[in-house]
Symmetry: none
Amino acid sequence: MKAILVICDGMADRPIKELNWKTPLEAARKPSLNQIAKTGICGIMDPIAPGIPPGSDTATLAMLGYDVLKVYSGRGALEAIGSGINVLPSDVAFRCNFATVNEGLIVLDRRAGRIANEDAAKLAESLQKIRLEKSSIEFVFKNTIQHRAALVIHGRPKLSTAISDSDPEKVGVKVLEIKPLDESPEARLTAKILNELMDKFRKVLENHPVNKERSKRKLLPANIILCRSAGTVPSIKPLSEVYGVNAACIAATSLIRGVCKVAGMKLIDVKGATGTPQTDFMAKAKATIQTLKTNDFVVLHVKATDVASHDGGVKQKIELIEKIDRMLGYMLNNIDLSSTCLAVTADHTTSSITQNHEGDPVPLAITGPYVRRDDVEEFDERSCAKGGLSRIRSRDLLPILMNLLGKTRKFGA
Amino acid sequence: MKAILVICDGMADRPIKELNWKTPLEAARKPSLNQIAKTGICGIMDPIAPGIPPGSDTATLAMLGYDVLKVYSGRGALEAIGSGINVLPSDVAFRCNFATVNEGLIVLDRRAGRIANEDAAKLAESLQKIRLEKSSIEFVFKNTIQHRAALVIHGRPKLSTAISDSDPEKVGVKVLEIKPLDESPEARLTAKILNELMDKFRKVLENHPVNKERSKRKLLPANIILCRSAGTVPSIKPLSEVYGVNAACIAATSLIRGVCKVAGMKLIDVKGATGTPQTDFMAKAKATIQTLKTNDFVVLHVKATDVASHDGGVKQKIELIEKIDRMLGYMLNNIDLSSTCLAVTADHTTSSITQNHEGDPVPLAITGPYVRRDDVEEFDERSCAKGGLSRIRSRDLLPILMNLLGKTRKFGA
């Protein structure tokens, strides 16, 4: 018995007036999602606890069975690991954005016009050439998707995550100075290094040919790097050790790749998988089926629905759910359901109205030969609430799947 | 978005034979409660954990989002704070009853014939004049509603809550001597002071003109003070700090006022609100609507249903539920439901048969513009069990409400 877990980022939503108080999932045409619900067992799931909005990092770690309230150590390192940087336990890592500021350092766009990967890569290459005053400290800066990037600080003496962000997380306000958040010499040193680096980044970006070229093309220049979410690598046991399974992950976004990597999963690259609404859904489906041949457990992550929700794109969100549905239709036709459990869920609710992660529970359906099939017929937030799984927490999901695979350890004798 | 939480004390019940195995909620005519269920999301809620009967103190603290298993430090201090006494972290506080004993100190009535507030106030005034042998220790004694009172011991050296009660909590048995519950000098001192105080109280009460007058009127004399539930102020963060909300409470009973006050909520006084079945329900409803204008979150607490249950008054309980329903009808007609979440629940189950708090879950309904409305049509213990909230714990309720208000903090990034 093997298992596939399909995570649709931010797919769950709240009732929306313009959809006659349906959610996007309820409004979408989704025969394959419904088939999974109909032939499976359904429920709702609190990512962390009822009412608590999670990040995609904590939500995904929780779905892999970890107690995030104990093990979570910041998003930065997860993002960096996912982008391919080798992060050591003593390193401190950050999420970064290429952004646009005016001369007074007021943020005009936190995404530098959602800069293309090619431009970001050229800028990142230049930034990597900078040297810090303190020669015992090194850094790695890497662009990931569009405006997103990761930064890792490495070296001696010891560094700290107890520093504030430079990213104000909104436009129209000034970039923040990075400050130590405690009295330790480590925090003071780390803040000092980061401020030096942010200054040097800014100087290189300001006069960079890529930005001059962008201005000519009437595109926003990526003239500053904003950083946030200082973190270290969480100390967790890999899934192979916890459950004795070979596990792999198909995800384009660095953060999810990072989470899966720290859980000891293999990262599978898929041509055309972009982590955007333009991703190649079918390529991901095919890669999942292929990957399952040599693994016990495969996570397939789709970012697109979250992107649409954060942009308030209700219509786009529905279209993306329908694309996911077609992807799942292909999978249902091409996996052996007599020896495979297929689970589908969202990592969290992203409201298309508030455009934020919310603390509402997410729907979950698991189909497979030995599940206790219930009478839920549709996959959405309200139908699944009537299902046989009742209301669980995300950290219960993996034990439930591994139990179906016969991979959970008996507690007691 | 704002929120109102209506807590009906002890409203939940068990099926009763004389109601053809319906609960009082199921037997009552309650169109407004049903409307809230019908237009909202419903569920059942365990005050502490399945099967565990809570006090009104722990149940209410839990509904305000606190982990009572960690923070609860006895009822006494909550009752005292709610009665308007300023309780310091080092003080030890007690719940007290005006009671009636015979010459052999056998308890005849634990409530001194539910003594009227006026009589209790005159007696309390005389008791407050007593002086203790140890001049470094002072006390505050205050009557609250009917036979209920609060006592706070304050001073040096350090005091302890590790002492037994003088209240045997039943009639026909002798008043108990207060004993230290551990070997500490603090517990021995506190027990000694309490016994001295109880003796002095008794002497003052025995010959008090109010009691002589009561005997003439064939009323039971309040000739002893029984004390129990030694406690200190729980160390908790106010709601303003946890969620960034302005919160207020409309409750007549000292205990609930105390709980809300330690949670940093404003206490609103309402003329005619008595904490008894004779309370002015409409005055409370109007005050709630008025208070919501300047607050994000208002708790409206009704004690009457619990009083009826403890007296085994099934018919009275049904009538009180119907009065609560009319109060809610007024509220539904006078609040802006496009910008208000209205939640209604009970703090715990009080069985009209056992006349005790029981560990059964309570029904809950939340109506508001963005809730995932389910298909529950009636507000009662069994209908709500089929709702979209499934089964939660009381400590999840406030995060769920605050999530609807956009006030919960994201965990993760």
